[in-house]
């Protein structure tokens, strides 16, 4: 309990950040579905227009092309009769109509309906009751609904990302919506913070903090800012990764010499060494089925990616091309591996198909780090450098859709895309 109290002094929970991330779309998909998202009747009463946020979400996905629709009179709502022929003539494949109504208790009711114009069929709709300040969250839910209905895969608009902002000698671990909005600082420190990793339930982050003049692994509960030490052994403690069921952390410790992979319970108990090598073993990450741990090792003379059974055992080499392949991240379906490869002097994010063994370089920048999959596997978030400044970039797994998230107030790095929210 004591250590929690002392830790609270460092943790700044729910402190509104000064610097918001701004997002810029730098590439889009080849085929984008034209969609009409009309202004929701009554949404002017909200701090953020729901239809504007939905439009931006869908556009950012790279799979949709929101149409410019002139003001209509009367303004259609989800209750209106839909003239499919009219929307067909406006070249829309899909249509979203909605309305916002104030309730007597001060809350709002938001309703919307989605239509498939091509098939001339309603695809469904939802009514939400929300507080005034939940307009953004509600809009992201609507985007998720529309995205899933039209693409068949889950949307990630309601998920959150974690990253570190360095400004002068100050480091902030921040949490923001997937679109970079609503950033909040979970931890501020005068010493570096690296390697944030979301617990599978999205409630906690494990990370490495240097506040004690050496790397120590903490587990931090986001709702109340409580944090505790998960690994602070003699030597360095780093690279935390959650098992898919949240019951274990893989960590890298130097307590027995070198950098070696161990397993520990998130409360710091039950330490167990998973592998022994005379080389560097680091950056462990579990496969989504919990069967394997992928990690970086220089046991073959250069850093390459290997995998071993999650309980320890013989390792198998995974990457072969090139002399520097690091930072493995397995896609949510377990079929692909994102990592960073060095080409000449350039460090670039790449994707390996674990079945066909084909490698695809995803970026044209030269200082990529820390790739992280969106929970639906479609986008990969990574840290890179643009104009001498650390920024985040998101790229689709086919390399076409690209976005950049940056802040004018500092360097952004160490991104980690959080899980689906229940």
């Amino acid at each position: 309990m004591r250590r929690v109290v002392f830790a609270l002094a460092l943790a700044v929970s729910a402190c509104q950040a000064f610097a918001q991330l701004s997002i810029e779309i730098t590439g889009a998909g080849a085929q984008r579905m034209p969609i009409a998202i009309l202004p929701f009747a009554g949404e002017a009463a909200l701090p953020a227009a729901i239809s504007t946020i939905v439009r931006a979400d869908l556009e950012r996905s790279g799979l949709f092309r929101p149409l410019e629709i002139p003001a209509l009179n009367p303004q259609p709502t989800e209750a209106s009769e839909v003239s499919y022929a009219e929307w067909r003539s406006r070249l829309a494949d899909a249509l979203v109509l909605g309305s916002v109504a104030a309730r007597p208790d001060g809350r709002f009711e938001v309703r919307f309906r989605l239509f498939d114009v091509a098939k001339q069929a309603p695809l469904g709709g939802v009514a939400y009751t929300m507080a005034r300040d939940q307009a953004r969250a509600t809009a992201h839910r609507i985007s998720d609904y529309v995205y899933e209905k039209l693409t068949g895969e889950k949307g990630v608009f309601s998920t959150r990302i974690a990253y570190v902002v360095k400004r002068g000698n100050r480091y902030e671990l921040q949490i923001a919506d997937a679109d970079g909005a609503g950033a909040e600082t979970a931890l501020a420190s005068f010493e570096p913070i690296i390697s944030p990793a979301w617990s599978p339930d999205g409630r906690r982050l494990a990370y490495v903090s240097f506040e004690n003049k050496k790397p120590v692994v903490y587990v931090h509960s986001l709702a109340d800012g409580r944090r505790h030490v998960a690994a602070n052994f003699k030597g360095s403690n780093s690279a935390p990764a959650w098992s898919p069921d949240g019951s274990k952390l893989a960590v890298v410790l130097s307590r027995e010499g070198g950098s070696q992979v161990f397993q520990v319970n998130p409360d710091g108990s039950g330490l167990r060494r998973l592998a022994s090598s005379s080389a560097i073993d680091t950056e462990p990450v579990y496969s989504p089925d919990g069967q394997y741990i992928y990690f970086t090792s220089d046991r073959g003379g250069s850093p390459q990616i290997y995998r071993m059974p999650a309980g320890g055992g013989d390792a198998q080499r995974i990457t072969f091309e090139g002399s520097y392949n690091v930072s493995p991240r397995v896609s949510p379906d377990g079929k692909r591996l994102a990592f960073v490869t060095r080409n000449g002097g350039r460090f670039q994010a790449a994707l390996l198909d674990l079945e066909t063994r084909q490698v695809q370089v995803l970026s044209d920048s030269d200082r990529d780090e820390s790739p992280s999959f969106a929970p639906n596997g479609r986008m990969i978030l990574l840290a890179t450098v643009n104009g001498g400044r650390g920024v985040l970039a998101a790229v689709s797994s086919d390399g076409r859709v690209k976005q950049r998230l940056s802040t004018t107030a500092g360097d952004v790095r160490e991104p980690s895309w959080g899980p689906f929210t229940k």
């Binding site: 790397p215 360095s236 780093s238 560097i280 690091v326 930072s327 960073v340 780090e369």
Partner: protein
């Protein structure tokens, strides 16, 4: 130049190794000779008083760590690209700190390894660890107790030089020695 420094250092260290604090003299009767003969004043027959200063040893040992003329004030070991062994030119530095630790059994150090910024942060953390582990291993071979040295890594997180070229990187491939009270 360097060898003169080493000789001087060795002399200072030798002097320091016989401080009263280290000898754990029993309390009560001190079996000690009076101070220097020249210190007695003429004509007045005063019984001599020998001074025993238990603080002197510690003071001089600690101040040597920061005295710019002492090799113990030198704390950084630099490395070539992709190299982890202590280069010949830094051996005297490591040896001096090892001797200090042997002579001051209660003293402890933290060796912080560092790497340049290129590539993965976690992998660079491991490279820094390889450097600090190398310094620790050398000290153990020189007779330092295991519990006196902790080797850790700051990876690429605390660069000494902020640039993005070899001039900066060569400053950042480094191990730093911190003594008790400094970490």
């Amino acid at each position: 130049m360097r060898s003169i420094g080493i000789v001087l250092m060795t002399a200072i260290l030798a002097a320091c190794s016989t401080t009263p604090e280290e000898e754990q003299a029993p309390a009560g009767v001190e079996d000690r000779k009076p101070g220097a003969p020249g210190a007695q004043s003429k004509g007045v027959d005063r019984p001599p008083v020998a001074s025993v200063d238990l603080t002197a040893g510690r003071k001089s040992a600690a101040s040597m760590l920061t005295d710019p003329n002492s090799i113990l004030s030198k704390r950084s070991i630099y490395y070539d690209f992709d190299k982890f062994d202590v280069k010949e030119e830094y051996r005297p530095l490591v040896e001096a700190h090892a001797r200090y630790l042997r002579d001051n059994p209660k003293a402890k150090i933290l060796v912080q390894g560092n790497a340049d910024e290129r590539g993965s942060r976690e992998y660079n953390l491991s490279l820094g660890q390889k450097r600090s582990d190398g310094v620790k291993k050398m000290m153990l071979l020189l007779g330092v107790r295991e519990d006196q040295v902790e080797s850790v890594s700051l990876g690429e997180e605390k660069p000494k030089a902020e640039g993005h070229d070899e001039a900066a990187w060569s400053q950042n491939r480094r191990s730093d020695i911190l003594h008790s009270g400094e970490f």
